[in-house]
Amino acid sequence: MTAQVITVTSGKGGVGKTTAVANLANALAMDGKRVVCIDGDIGLRNLDVVMGLENRIVYDLVDVIEGRCKLKQAMIRDKRYPELYLIPAAQTRDKNAVSPSDMVRICNDLRPDADFVIIDSPAGIERGFRNSIAAADRVLVVTNPEVSAVRDADRVVGILEAEEKGSPALILNRLNPALVKNNDMLSAEDVLDLLGIQLIGIVPEDETVIIGSNRGAPVAADGKSRAGQAFRNIAKRLQGQDVPFMDLEPQGGLWSALQKITGRK
């Protein structure tokens, strides 16, 4: 058995790459998969915080590359899932400490003993991004329904196509169905129309995601969270299952009740 290497990237920063990696990794682990996450953001690490593993870091990715420890020693076991690991980034170094061939080598070492290797790419299209996509079998591009984020995603898709990494799949993060309904936000159709790539999931705006990130407990494990459900669905699709897309109509709050009465669209 050999692992699939998935890189999560976006171009623009702050759209939810790290959150997506942590949640997808948790969701895959919940399905019994063996998952290794790699934080590719050398110098600005934060996947460890979102996964709640900050205080367990002894060795990091750069230590492995520079031979100060074995790969297994840098793999931090998750608190909840024994088959979920994190290889953290170095905080005191920069992107030049890692090269694309280092990433390929590490992923190849991980392949025999894992089902999924998920790489959290840094924002931008420079060295760190090149490192992160070097080993990828599959790339997921995360974007928000915002013009600037979509434009950066488009640039990244263009680069991935030029590098013959195949067409990436899209995660549309933080969609607010109520705003879309009022024409105040780009809709999923608008975004897909421009990017022209396959959609693998839409994650609705959900405050539980922020709370989960701050607590180091990704919402994928929260049965009630709608965003958590969306991430679990994406994880199922990554395993090749056909899961229908969630109904994202605004839920019956006071506001939508008002909208119904006034007939506003």
């Binding site: 030049n96 694309p100 060295r127 488009d154 196509e161 030029a162 421009l194």
Partner: protein
């Protein structure tokens, strides 16, 4: 070693280093370049490298491999100058510059001759960050997304949506035109006229933009018959 290094000449230019390749096999020259760098790692540390690859036809993989090898040695590849349009297009796809500040004289001459006659055919969507420059007409079957740019000496025809920037007649040809199935561009330019007020349309129709009798850039609906 001397024989090897003779394959690739490296010299300093204003914006960094320029490696001049010959027509010898690509792999040998690549090795020669890397060998030169490995010989004097301190000199090349953090360098910006441009390559003049002559008439070599290079595919995406060739350039990506070399760029990765270079970046492992802390040398950043920023430009590829080529006589071959295929290599030039590959370089543009990878976001590399294809002209350095002073274009070679013979390139410019060739540029002028190519006008009017030739057209560049692009059968895909141009995504953000892609810049296409061509000394003739440009035909795109696909969209031109926001953040993409087309700069042509002649006309530009897009069988798709235009939401990026298009400059037709960039060498002053005021009779150049821009045609598209949906012209909701962020900015259009013909010769030295600029138009920035094009609204996204709900129900797009094919349009032609040209410079009208009053000398202003104007878009008109396509009239059949």
């Amino acid at each position: 070693m001397n024989q090897l290094t003779a394959l690739v000449q490296i010299k300093g230019i204003r914006d960094g280093l320029l490696a001049a390749f010959t027509d010898a096999p690509w792999d040998e020259q690549k090795q020669a370049l890397l060998a030169q760098i490995d010989e004097k790692p301190a000199f090349f540390q953090g360098a910006r490298l441009a390559m003049d690859v002559g008439a070599q036809i290079l595919k995406v993989n060739d350039l990506v491999d070399l760029r990765d090898f270079l970046s492992e040695r802390n040398v950043s590849l920023w430009a590829v100058i080529s006589e071959s349009p295929i290599t030039e297009q590959t370089a543009q796809l990878l976001g590399l510059a294809t002209r350095i500040s002073k274009p070679r004289p013979e390139e410019r001459k060739q540029t002028l001759e190519a006008s009017d006659e030739s057209a560049l055919f692009i059968n895909k969507t141009l995504r953000s960050g892609t810049r296409v420059e061509f000394p003739g007409n440009v035909v795109v079957v696909g969209d031109v997304n926001p953040g993409a740019e087309i700069i042509a000496d002649g006309n530009v025809i897009v069988w798709g949506r235009v939401r990026g920037m298009i400059h037709a007649g960039c060498r002053g040809n005021r009779s150049a035109m821009i045609c598209a199935l949906d012209l909701s561009a962020t900015q259009l330019r013909i010769a030295d006229e600029v138009s920035a007020v094009l609204k996204p349309q709900k129900d797009p129709k094919p349009e032609i933009a040209s410079i009208n009798k009053e000398g202003r850039l104007q878009a008109e609906l396509w009239q059949t018959g």
